[in-house]
């Protein structure tokens, strides 16, 4: 089950495509943390990837950190293997950490169902926004920038006006 608003961020300790281990505590100094379920092979993720990069670029020096996690079953979907994740991050110029949840334990803790799916936490690491990055995979048709607005709100010391939206994308590929 997906964690509810106000829930404290479940901890994680996962390998990143940069060759390092990354834990939730590593981001403790950031006032705003977005954990985004992601993967390589999903066209919805690919459509939104550029906006993830842009958000990190725009807000990175204001205390925002975006962390992408792939939990997909790489045996059934080899495009989502850890090696392929490294290749995609390099090829697309990811400016955020991209972590591999190979045993899907972090997926179970958060209850993500789609890629991309956002979990945004405030400085106390309470969930303040969950769902979509914005309201259209077509960037020129976006009218509601949910994640951007939520980041701005948290940075201003407020709660986001929208707390939950439906995540639209591929299903997370669970192991049998």
């Amino acid at each position: 089950m997906t964690i509810a608003l106000a829930t404290e961020a479940p901890p994680f300790d996962l390998p990143g495509v940069d060759g390092r281990q990354h834990t939730l505590e590593d981001y403790a100094d950031e006032p705003v943390l977005a954990v985004v379920w992601s993967c390589n092979h999903c066209p919805y993720v690919q459509a939104w990837e550029g906006r993830m990069i842009e958000l990190q670029r725009e807000f990175g020096d204001r205390g925002f950190e975006l962390v992408a996690i792939s939990s997909n079953d790489a045996d059934a979907y080899p495009e989502d293997s850890f090696e392929q994740m490294k290749a995609r991050a390099a090829g697309q110029g990811f400016n955020f950490d991209y972590l591999y949840d190979g045993d899907q334990s972090v997926l179970e803790a958060y209850g993500a169902e789609r890629t991309p799916e956002v979990f945004l936490f405030d400085g106390d690491r309470r969930l303040v926004y969950h769902g979509a990055i914005d309201d259209s995979r077509e960037e020129d048709e976006v009218t509601q920038r949910y994640l951007r607005d939520a980041i701005e709100a948290v940075l201003a010391g407020e709660d986001p006006s929208v707390g939950d939206t439906p995540a639209v994308g591929c299903s997370v590929k669970r192991k049998p």
């Binding site: 092979h41 999903c42 066209p43 919805y44 690919q46 459509a47 059934a76 979907y77 995979r137 639209v168 994308g169 591929c170 299903s171 590929k173």
Partner: protein, 100 residues
């Protein structure tokens, strides 16, 4: 003319693709029944050479021949717009070309 529309329920793109197909068929004045088939298992995906959802074939030819040879799998299929941007549905132009 025989049109097949194959989809996997786990990907949310098939209603949009089906609507687009119906729109293009109407615009071109093509009155033909679309054969719709849901793919449930990996074994079915392999048997049907299903490279992802949705897959549309006109007289057996994939509307996106470049993507037709991808590994059969229960996933969202990646199409590309004319400018190279990824999309989970084929473009109107791809459908129009396949039906012409």
């Amino acid at each position: 003319m025989e049109i097949e529309f194959l989809f996997w329920e786990g990907c949310p793109s098939h209603p949009e693709a089906r609507q687009l197909l119906d729109d293009v068929l109407a615009d071109q004045g093509v009155d033909v029944e679309v054969t719709v088939r849901e793919v449930f298992t990996q074994a079915e995906a392999e048997e049907l050479r299903f490279p992802g959802s949705p897959t549309i074939r006109v007289d057996g030819r994939d509307v996106d021949p470049d993507g037709a040879s991808a590994r059969p799998a229960l996933n969202c299929r990646i199409y590309h717009k004319a400018d190279g941007r990824p999309s989970p549905v084929p473009t109107r132009e791809q459908l129009e070309a396949a039906l012409s």
